[in-house]
Amino acid sequence: MTIPTTTALEASEPEEPRVGISTLQRMGASFAMFRNRKSLTGLIILGVFVLIAVFGDLIAPYGPLDKDYTALKQPPTWQHLLGTTHMGEDIFSQIIYGTRGVLLVGFLAGILATAAAVAVGVASGMVAGWRSEALSALTNVFLVLPGLPLMIIIASQYDDPSLFLIAGVLALTGWAWGARVLRAQTMSLRDRDFVRAARANGEPLWRIITVEMLPNLMAIIASSFVGTVTAAVLGLTTLAFIGIIPITNLNWGTILFWAQQNGAFPDYWWWYVPAGLCIALLGMALALINFGIDEYVNPRLRSEGERARAQRKKGVTATSGVTAVRRTPSSPASSPHDETEASLV
């Protein structure tokens, strides 16, 4: 075989010889999913709530149950920023202290549910045959069981459920969805060449799952986690509003419960509006974070947003794949587009 052999080194990128990226850089790269505007906004809002929860004692002017008998059912004043309840309690402080309950239980439930989802979902995706089907059936059963009735029935059994118990019940009703998604993803990953190569190289199964597959599943796990926390927050506040959860666990739902019980409707808006708004705001923040992750994972959505923005700046309104044709040469004066985009695009 006489073939002219090329012995030159395969052309590699010029520049500096990068020996490796530091761990910090690598961590930063894996959190690229959080880098776009939407998720940053969400993260900031979430961060504010976390700060409120942590530094509640310092920020709140009063204790949540301190009663000021001189100011009953007062609308907002400088002394009581969000007004008072029928017992003279400061609502602003209640909201601040309520943040703790919400975030603690919400995140705890999220962690428990996601752990279960990863365990069951990835396992059922990796194994084959009846074991996989059995786990899938288990997941589907929990998917179909209606969450709130189950939570009501279980929670009503206990007089003073601990945080863990509440979080556990919330997790029980919320893990199945993530498990189903992870199962599908794992199954598709399992057939990818690099996994086959790892198997052919003799990598032990646990290493294949943790080292090779899990990093590729991170985006989905993150998204599932955020979704579960959202559901847990809603579930918690709903349960508190109904009155199933004892009032020893103060959260925004408890505030609404008291408002409902003590005739705050419809006049004393300062009592019931802020709590609901906080729930909505937190939910929105989490949804935005998920948006960001979604866009990162689905390159089409990502380029979609960028493309639409770029085109709008040129004064072109885009409708799906059709390339708009500009009839007249654009002059900045003639196209009346203004720069006020929606702040949370």
Binding site: T238, P266, D294
Partner: protein, 327 residues
């Protein structure tokens, strides 16, 4: 056909699992309110009813667990769910029967409306990516993050107390005669508007966003470009090509979200004092009416399962690929 067989097996299994969980639920709970109740009301309960209660709640300790299980099934298949404590020992099935239509009506209509409007809006937003549509997204985001019950409260405060447009509670006015008269139906609609509207608004956002995302993904596909190049009108491309394919995942997420919808409606009924199964469950919980609670849980679960089956069937009819895919 194999596909349908697989799905049928799955649903049967889930139904069986739900019923079995229901069997174990009271046995896992601590305390035994039933015995206490039975003792207190010795004379008022017929022996059969007392037996039924014992079977449902695992008090017939004379029998093995398996025998209890068989008795339980026998009871269920004969349509006996026990007696409701808080309703004067009326059969649970009757009590649920009066409340169920209200919930099904309210939830059914509201959810379908919300699905249709949300999907259509999402399709339009996905298609025309102008500024107005970009604004709609944070708005939809906000509305879908708001807890159902809070929105209901606000709705009452605004539309009922402040503006006086709609009544704040109940399904029909006091003193109205239930029947299929036009007057009564009008009354029902009048009372049902606010709750339905609240459900629609609260769930709209979710459908819209999901559909929008799917539309964007679908519109990128080559077959859309071909359709446009063929000269089909935009309306036709959007409806028959893009929306139809984008809607499929929506259907499956519809099925998945049914449990969530049920939860939201439960609380909605509390807020509006709407006489559906949600309010019934909450009242039963407060009254510690265990037979009713257990019966309600079973009925709700089976109803959600049924809705899932319908959604699945719709999906299979619409998507020829699904029939070949593994469940």
């Amino acid at each position: 056909m194999r596909f349908f067989a697989r799905r049928a097996v799955f649903y049967l299994f889930t139904a069986w699992a739900a019923i079995t969980i229901n069997f174990f639920l009271p046995r896992m709970m601590k305390g035994d309110p039933i015995s206490a109740y039975l003792q207190k009301n010795q004379g008022k309960i017929s022996p059969e009813a007392a037996d039924a209660l014992r079977t449902l709640f695992g008090l017939d300790t004379g029998k093995s667990l398996f025998e209890q299980y068989i008795d339980y099934w026998r009871l269920l298949l004969s349509g006996d769910l026990g007696r409701s404590f808080s309703h004067g020992l009326a059969p649970v099935t009757d009590v649920i029967g009066t409340a169920l239509p209200w919930t099904v009506g309210l939830v059914g209509i509201a959810t379908i409306l919300s699905f249709i409007i949300g999907t259509a809006a999402g399709a339009i937003i996905g298609w025309r990516r102008g500024r107005a549509s970009e604004l709609a997204i944070p708005a939809a985001n906000f509305f879908s993050s708001v807890p159902y019950f809070w929105m209901g409260l606000i709705a009452i405060a605004v539309f009922s107390s402040a503006l006086g447009w709609f009544p704040a509670s109940h399904a029909y006015s006091k003193g109205a005669h239930p029947g299929f008269t036009l007057e009564f139906i009008g009354d029902v609609i009048y009372h049902g508007t606010l709750p339905a509207l609240t459900i629609v608004l609260a769930s709209l956002g979710g459908w819209m966003l999901g559909m929008r995302n799917m539309m964007i993904t679908v519109l990128d596909e080559d077959y859309i470009t071909v359709a446009q190049a063929k000269g089909l009108s935009p309306a036709r491309v959007v409806t028959r090509y893009a929306a139809r394919n984008a809607m499929l995942p929506q259907l499956s997420s519809f099925a998945l979200s049914l449990g969530f919808i049920v939860g939201g409606t439960l609380v909605m009924e509390l807020v509006f004092s709407y006489p559906g199964v949600g309010k019934l469950l909450l009242d039963a919980t407060n009254a510690k009416d265990y037979p009713l609670m257990q019966g309600l849980f079973l009925v709700i679960t089976l109803a959600v399962l049924l809705a899932n089956i319908l959604a699945d069937a719709a999906y299979a009819i619409l998507d020829p690929r699904a029939r070949q895919m593994e469940a």
